[in-house]
């Protein structure tokens, strides 16, 4: 009899706790808005030094150091390669919808796209732009899951247009603070292509920025890229930085 009572109480507690956690798709959509807001630097600039360690079973380990500059208000970014020395001076400049790659050897700019891989790593060019989850995706399903020691909402996202890099995503968002902890990105044919793990965040004013991320290629076993951010700053960056002439002369 005592046991029966205990089981009923446990079931009730579980139902109550789950009903406390459960959120609707509309509420999950608000989370997307929240993520975009804390990821984007509205009214200020953002700069950092990115260290990328790419591990490839075929090509070995490769280290790249990049200076990153962002002007989210004007949808601009600049990535300047510092290391390895052979690639020093190469740059990615995004102005509006145009993304240019600059090669100092040929001294020429060529068009590239956000969905292309960044410097042959597992990161895409789009990983370094401002976040636009709300604009590009809709939430189709929300579940709860424990990820390590974190309670998370798992948002299943479907692209609203056919121009985003990944048509489908699953995003693990911490219940507290709505920080993105993990992402799974799927192809048009619904095959898992990449898993991203956001291991560390720092707070910059109202913004949260991941300072350590691992992008794991799910198609090639053992292929992954670890990204670490340092020297993060929200100091103003002059407009002249986001120009082709700056990219051309910065390493001369």
């Amino acid at each position: 009899m005592k046991n029966k009572k205990a089981i009923i109480i446990m079931i009730l507690v579980l139902i109550m706790s789950s009903s406390l956690m459960a959120i609707t798709v509309n509420e999950a959509t608000e989370i997307l808005k929240e993520i975009d807001e804390y990821s984007n630097f509205a009214g200020k600039s953002f700069s950092s030094t990115i260290s990328m360690i790419s591990e490839d079973p075929e090509d070995g380990i490769d280290k790249t150091v990049v200076y990153q500059f962002r002007d989210d208000d004007n949808d601009k970014f600049l990535m300047l390669l510092k290391e390895p020395s052979i690639k020093k001076g190469q740059g990615y400049l995004k102005i509006d919808d145009n993304l240019w790659f600059y090669d100092p050897e040929s001294r020429k700019f060529s068009h590239t796209s956000l969905s292309e891989q960044f410097n042959a790593s597992d990161a895409n060019n789009s990983d370094f732009t401002s976040s636009s989850l709300l604009e590009d995706y809709k939430v189709t399903e929300v579940t709860e899951q424990t990820l390590g020691s974190y309670e998370t909402y798992v948002l299943t996202l479907e692209a609203l247009n056919d121009e985003v890099t990944y048509p489908q995503q699953k995003v693990w968002v911490s219940v507290k603070g709505f920080l993105v902890l993990k992402k799974e990105e799927y192809s048009k044919s619904n095959k898992l292509m990449r898993s991203s793990y956001y291991l560390k965040y720092i707070k910059l004013g109202e913004n949260f920025i991941p300072t350590k991320t691992i992008f794991q290629d799910e198609l090639v076993e053992g292929k992954k890229t670890t990204i670490t951010l340092s020297d993060v700053s929200t100091k103003d960056i002059p407009d002249s930085v986001f120009t082709k002439s700056y990219v051309e002369r910065v390493n001369n």
């Binding site: 969905s115 056919d162 121009e163 890099t165 292509m193």
Partner: protein
């Protein structure tokens, strides 16, 4: 009088000298015919490689402008294109193929081949490619299956896969979304890598779906002509017809850009000047745009071979003039005797000129024979280990080929013999200016 018999006997009388003269003529003939044959082979092989790889002589690419400003590669205004095709004289068109293509990475158990081109082919229609593919492993029995792939030899070797293995192909849709398809390797085709990209082949139906195209859409339409000389005529007709039907063509490339375009390949690129359009924008290029690069190299080789030919001819001519001057001095008495016996000056001249022609003819024959032997020997060597795509483009199954150019050979033979006759006639004429008495003294 049988001039030929006498002239031939006279030439044979001085075997060593005649042969030396003939060999020097033969060498010049050999060089010019061999180089011409080599360049013809290079052009023919390049033309064949490009025609096979691209599926024809004229290539029509379609681009559509999305609301976002993004340009995607596809032809959905199929009706305009079909209508434009009817405006071309049907007797000029041998066949046409609709194709789609994705570039991406082939993956097999951790092994990757990046920048791989997978071409979607309508196997029910495209018989030429089906017949031209040199299958070195597997078979094309399951070719119609949308998940079957005919892998290029290059990719097959790099992936270390086997027939029946499933491989992954990672690429982007026409709008830039990531996509992955799984294919079963049914056959391996000998590498026909062109422009640095090795091509593998799948069914267009499956690839279209994976690229985000409708079943009836495609990215390029390649037209094969009966005669490559009609390329420009057909292209002009198509462009005019597309414009008349309200279709869009790219803005012309500026004169400045045209002037700057090296190797004349600018036609393959559209103007960077912003253009807005609705529906499909048709860009038409042709085989000659690709061949321009090869033709420039060929022209240089032809020029060099022509200069070599001229030098050889000059040397041979000087040799002939000097040799015949010596011969005339040696044969003064013989000439005097012939004339004393009643032969007219012009008859003697005819006889001596005929001797020159016989020597030149022998030289030309030796030269042609040497060219045939040498070219066959060179064409026995294989250059498969040269992985340079541009080099492979010039070869036929890894071999240098030397097609026999009968008309050109006859032309060279005629020129050589004509020049030889001219060279011989000078000392002969001089020798015959003497009186019979002087010659017999």
């Amino acid at each position: 009088m049988n001039y030929f018999k006498i002239a031939n006997r006279n030439v044979t009388r001085q075997k060593r000298r005649s042969n030396m003269l003939a060999i020097s003529i033969a060498f010049g003939t050999l060089i010019i015919i061999l180089l011409q044959s080599l360049t013809s082979g290079l052009v023919a092989n390049t033309e064949k490689s490009i025609t096979t790889a691209m599926g024809g002589h004229i290539y029509i690419r379609g681009d559509e402008l999305l609301e976002s400003g993004k340009i995607v590669s596809k032809i959905s205004d199929v009706d305009i294109l079909q209508e434009a095709l009817t405006s071309v004289d049907p007797s000029l068109i041998k066949d046409y193929q609709k194709r789609s293509e994705a570039n991406g990475t082939l993956i097999f158990y951790g092994k990757t081949v990046s920048r791989s081109a997978v071409v979607g082919v309508d196997w029910n229609h495209e018989v030429t490619l089906y017949n031209d593919l040199n299958i070195i492993e597997g078979s094309l029995e399951e070719i119609a299956d949308p998940q079957s792939i005919v892998l290029s030899q290059e990719a097959y070797e790099e992936l270390e896969a086997g027939i029946g293995d499933k491989i992954i192909f990672n690429f982007q849709t026409v709008t830039g979304q990531e996509n992955v398809e799984e294919y079963t390797i049914i056959a391996v085709a000998e590498s026909n890598s062109s422009f640095g990209i090795s091509s593998s082949y799948v069914s267009i139906v499956g690839l279209n779906k994976a690229l985000g195209l409708e079943e009836n859409e495609f990215q390029t339409l390649n037209i094969e002509l009966f005669n490559g000389n009609n390329i420009n005529k057909v292209q002009n007709t198509l462009e005019t017809s597309i414009e008349d039907l309200g279709g869009t063509l790219p803005l012309p490339v500026s004169e400045e850009d045209s002037a700057m375009s090296s190797f004349g390949m600018m036609a393959m690129f559209t103007s960077d000047v912003e253009q807005e359009w609705t529906g499909t924008r048709f860009t038409i290029t042709n085989l000659n745009d690709f061949l321009d690069v090869v033709l420039q190299v060929i022209n240089i080789i032809n020029l060099v071979s022509f200069v070599i030919f001229l030098i050889m001819i000059l040397i041979t001519m000087l040799g002939l003039v000097n040799t015949f001057r010596l011969i005339m001095n040696e044969r003064v008495l013989e000439i005097g005797t012939m004339r004393a016996m009643g032969m007219q000056r012009k008859d003697v001249q005819k006889l001596l000129n005929l001797e020159g022609i016989i020597v030149a003819f022998r030289g030309v024959l030796y030269g042609i024979a040497a060219e045939l032997v040498l070219s066959r020997i060179i064409s026995l060597f294989t250059f498969n280990e040269i992985r340079n795509p541009a080099m492979q483009l010039l070869l036929k199954n890894g071999h240098i080929s030397f097609p026999i150019e009968i008309l050109y050979t006859l032309f060279v033979a005629a020129i050589v013999m004509g020049i030889s006759l001219f060279a011989v006639s000078q000392p002969v004429r001089k020798a015959l200016k003497k009186s019979v008495a002087d010659e017999l003294r």
